[in-house]
Symmetry: C2
Subunit: 604 residues, 2 copies
């Protein structure tokens, strides 16, 4: 099984075309401007000295690296000379300031050069990993080797220190990332040494040789023994990506089984309905099974992205729609929520519920927002720890990576996105044309040309129709050259319930239509959303929220009828006032100022 | 209108008899032992020096003072020589260590003697107030004047510094208490000077002359202009007590109106159904209207006590059952919950919901219970800030204070507690005999002897019967000597709803029977209480929880039916498993180890 790279696919209509255009026209520049203003780009000059502004932070290299990687993806599909110049200048600065031995890290060059490789949580290998990913992407996009060569030098140095000399103060990085980056370097160069290095870092993790390991960074036990997703959620899923990669390339069944267990633990017990993961702000971490409080969800954007990347790698091991269904859930919900509709601002934490007053409740103490670990009500253009914005730009720019995989005779269709794809199957150059307005509706046409091919098409997990015979969630079709497959995955509006262990959802229901989760906002529905009851027998009308330009669902609903004289507490009386509620896609919330937002509704 | 003191009433059966016996036999000694162990009693020797253990804290005087006051109440109704000896020894130490000028405070004698009266939040006047209350109570109980005289000397000094010289660094105390204590001193001695002092402290608060005032300590504006209950909840209600007292003795209608407004704001917008107040652990404070999240309720015991004391004072201004209904709500729920059934341990914060795993969710980070301001799941025997335990002992010992008030021709019956009371009405010595098992049932007989008298009997706010003509919630009866009034306030089990603004209760219902709020615990009902649905049409059976020896309500209920294969999220399916739920009085929760606890239930 192989991936089909984003650049073999052109997305030409629909929501992802819009997001990709926005990314190209706005978001990439917005992230650049904020990074420029905050000194992150100039930091690559490595001329900071004590007393100067913009003291580099230990993970700034990675912020810029993800931006560089984003530019690579953009420029591969359509040349962006202005952006390419910025990349080249940055690469020149890396070249200029790279140590003779190959080491490169801004912070540990200008701030604490004597602290190189002394502490597992210093993010050096994390930064290295993102630089490697960027270098690989840029080489693939432009054919320019310089960045890649610089990073290969750095990797050689890392190998020397960590694997040959073993003279570093730690053995596995506190923040995983280099493991999956080394796989990309292996895939790009074909050098097995990089695969071995990745395997080395995966294998040593949590063993007796691994110094300072904690559950927080997934190193309290060897990875093959891990059964539950623990610790910092982004670190965890980045590790799991590499584990799945190593299992794929080495055929290591034990490692694959660990991946299956960890994925299952996440999606069955530790994932919000949005696909968001990492419930707690303490350690940005997974917590315990079924701990999914909506109001204080942490659900970092990078973690949702990482889970999608992990799921995509699992598809390479086992073509099973448990993985592609989760990818779909993430891209239309817990990932897409991270970007404002204008493409300029971002959520780091993606709230699963918003009650604005809770941010201002401690007025008596003049101590705002201290008591509760609430995610922000509105998106920001940049963060002190700004890992998410450039992760969003690179993920959108390369989202076509998620649509297909293929093996010798079959193309696996995971996501429904209008696009044209070319790939070689069994020696024949096959063109796949997807025509669809998904997720506006579930009509999908897939035309094959260039030869006969087998298509394995994911039947969405949310779809009720029983007309397809499936194997692990996929329907298989022998498609002749020139033939078009047609699907109509009828999208019913559904009420979704959670298992009773997810107590914060108890007695409440999420409204979904196809893969899209809907939410209510007080700007449309008035205050006290938790009190509104959606009429469970009423018909939803699917239309448009004019203010936002996004789909909406209108439905009859009720709220508790009270007047000024109604006491705070009174006997249950079943008096309700009817009104017309309007729900919008979860991904579109918080685009009209601060507002209540609710996913889990009462019904009546 | 006058109060009828606790010592004119002997409670001889029922729940309060049990609690008073427990208080006398166990709780008073439990608090003593813990205070002795933690150096609080020995601190009165004032011989602590740097490097010694048990460094006094600025509010230790008040912890002991409330214990001394408790002993006074106990010994007045039945001599407790052993305890009296401890009081006398403590008073001797106060005498020995009181400054020549009358000042007394342990901390500002042995730790920072140069900081006397330099900072409004140093609790000096708060400690003074509690010592005054104790001295008054001890004098009333024993006739021994020494303690009272010592405190009068201290009050003279306070008057000299704060009112005559005006040479202190602040003008009003950061923690109110002395204001209401001065009223008690006035009532005890008849010296109007003390009333004037109380009025002075009440009046200066929040004015331009009041230095360092904040909303946190109710001094952002003059008290007559305050319309919402703000800041530290205990401080607030102690202030309001004094405001009501001053209004009562001076006839100050503006001040009375402020009290009416503040009381109304609390009970209509800022009070949990348990009678608990102060939603936030940040500043132990009131927050904003309708902010009543159950899981993170702060609801300090002292605040509930203070609200009952405030309500009692409001009854002296206006005989209205809005006040006495709240007292009833507090004493059977949010106050009574503070004491373990064995009488040995205490809640400082009284949880309005418990989900134990939330205390341990941040396992990945090894950082227990940091993220969420959750109240403790179990009671403790002592706290670093241990204001609540001796407040509980004194409140229970003097709970008969809450039963009656009287004026020249009428006795007002506020609470239904089996007891015998003697009081003088219109020159006649009247005996009131209450026979009741309240709140086990609502049958109450009140026999009058010694003369004819008018009785005003509170018709409980929870009672549905319409057979009584009431004025402000009271039914009036002309009762002849020897006559017995009989009532039968039939206790239906009710579902109570909250206003929709109290969003954390939305779609859920509290179960009550008479004044008692019932809750479920997972020890009786299994896990995931938020998911259980009480059958709203089923009959509750009233019986006993055998393990606890408290009443219980059994009822048909349902929980979401799932099996191991049920996904975390699935389409609404209305599959439920029936079971028999058992609810216990809220006050009895958390007496069988750590358990989920829920007040607000789903119904079906």
């Amino acid at each position: 099984m192989k991936f089909i790279d984003y650049f073999n696919t052109s997305i030409d209509s629909g929501i992802w075309k819009e997001k990709q255009d926005l990314n190209r026209a706005t978001t990439i520049y917005s992230v650049y401007d904020r990074f420029k203003e905050t000194g992150r780009f100039d930091a690559f000059k490595c001329d900071w000295k004590e007393g100067m502004p913009f003291k580099p932070h230990i993970f700034w290299d990675s912020d810029i690296a993800k931006w560089l990687e984003s530019v690579a993806y953009l420029t591969k599909t359509k040349r962006e000379k202005e952006l390419e110049v910025i990349v080249d200048k940055t690469v020149d600065l890396i070249e200029k300031n790279q140590d003779e031995n190959g080491y490169f890290n801004i912070y540990f060059t200008v701030v604490e050069p004597d602290k190189r490789f002394t502490y597992r949580s210093h993010h050096e290998l994390y930064c290295a990993g993102h630089l490697i990913e960027a270098a690989v992407a840029y080489y693939n996009a432009t054919g320019k080797r310089k960045f890649l060569d610089l990073m290969c030098r750095y990797v050689n140095y890392i190998e020397q220190r960590f694997i040959i000399n073993k003279d570093t103060a730690f053995t596995a990085p506190g923040h995983e990332e280099i493991e999956l980056a080394l796989i990309k370097l292996y895939e790009c160069t074909g050098e097995k040494r990089y695969l071995d290095m990745s395997k080395h870092f995966v294998d040593i993790r949590g063993t007796k040789e691994d110094i300072g390991g904690k559950r927080y960074d997934q190193s309290d036990k060897p990875v093959r023994q891990q059964t539950t997703a623990e610790g910092h959620a982004v670190r965890a899923v980045y590790l799991y990506c590499a584990m799945a990669d190593v299992a794929y390339y080495t055929g290591d069944k034990e490692l694959e089984n660990a991946c299956v267990r960890l994925f299952s633990n996440i999606v069955n017990k530790r994932m919000y309905i949005t696909g968001g993961i990492g419930s707690s702000s303490v350690g940005e971490a997974f917590t315990v099974d079924y701990d999914l409080p909506n109001l204080i969800s942490y659900t970092e954007t990078c973690a949702a992205i990482g889970l999608a990347l992990f799921a995509m790698r699992m598809l390479r091991l086992d073509n099973n729609s448990v993985y592609s269904d989760v990818i779909e859930k993430i891209i239309y919900n817990g990932f897409l929520s991270s970007l404002s509709l204008d493409g300029k601002s971002f959520y780091y934490e993606n709230p699963c519920e918003i009650i604005p007053y809770l941010h201002y409740r401690d007025v008596s103490y003049n101590d705002k927002n201290r008591a509760l670990p609430l995610p922000k009500t509105l998106r920001s253009e940049v963060f002190d720890c700004s890992c998410c914005p450039p992760n969003i730009t690179r993920f959108i720019a390369s989202i076509a990576n998620l649509i297909y995989t293929a093996d010798d005779d079959t193309v696996y269709v995971h996501q429904f996105i209008q696009s044209k794809t070319e790939t070689v199957i069994g020696g024949k150059k096959i063109t796949l044309r997807q025509l669809t307005r998904y997720p506006e509706n579930g009509k999908v046409r897939i035309k094959v040309s260039g030869g006969n091919v087998r298509l394995a098409v994911r039947i969405p997990g949310w779809y009720d129709g029983a007309e397809y015979k499936t194997e692990k969630g996929y329907a298989y079709f022998e498609v002749a050259d020139g033939q078009t497959l047609e699907f109509d995955f009828k999208m019913k509006v559904k009420f979704i319930q959670a298992r009773p262990e997810a107590v914060f959802d108890a007695g409440r229901y999420a409204v979904t239509r196809g893969p899209v989760i809907y939410c209510s906002e007080s700007v449309d529905n008035g205050a006290n959303l938790r009190d509104i009851r959606i009429d469970s027998k009423a018909k939803f009308s699917y239309g448009k929220n004019e203010a936002l330009g996004v789909p909406s669902l209108k439905v009859k609903a009720y709220r508790t009828a009270v007047n000024d004289q109604t006491p705070l507490y009174s006997e249950k009386n079943n008096a309700f006032a009817e009104f017309n509620a309007e729900l919008i896609p979860y991904y579109a919330f918080a685009n009209r100022g601060e507002s209540e937002m609710l996913i889990w509704h009462l019904v009546k």
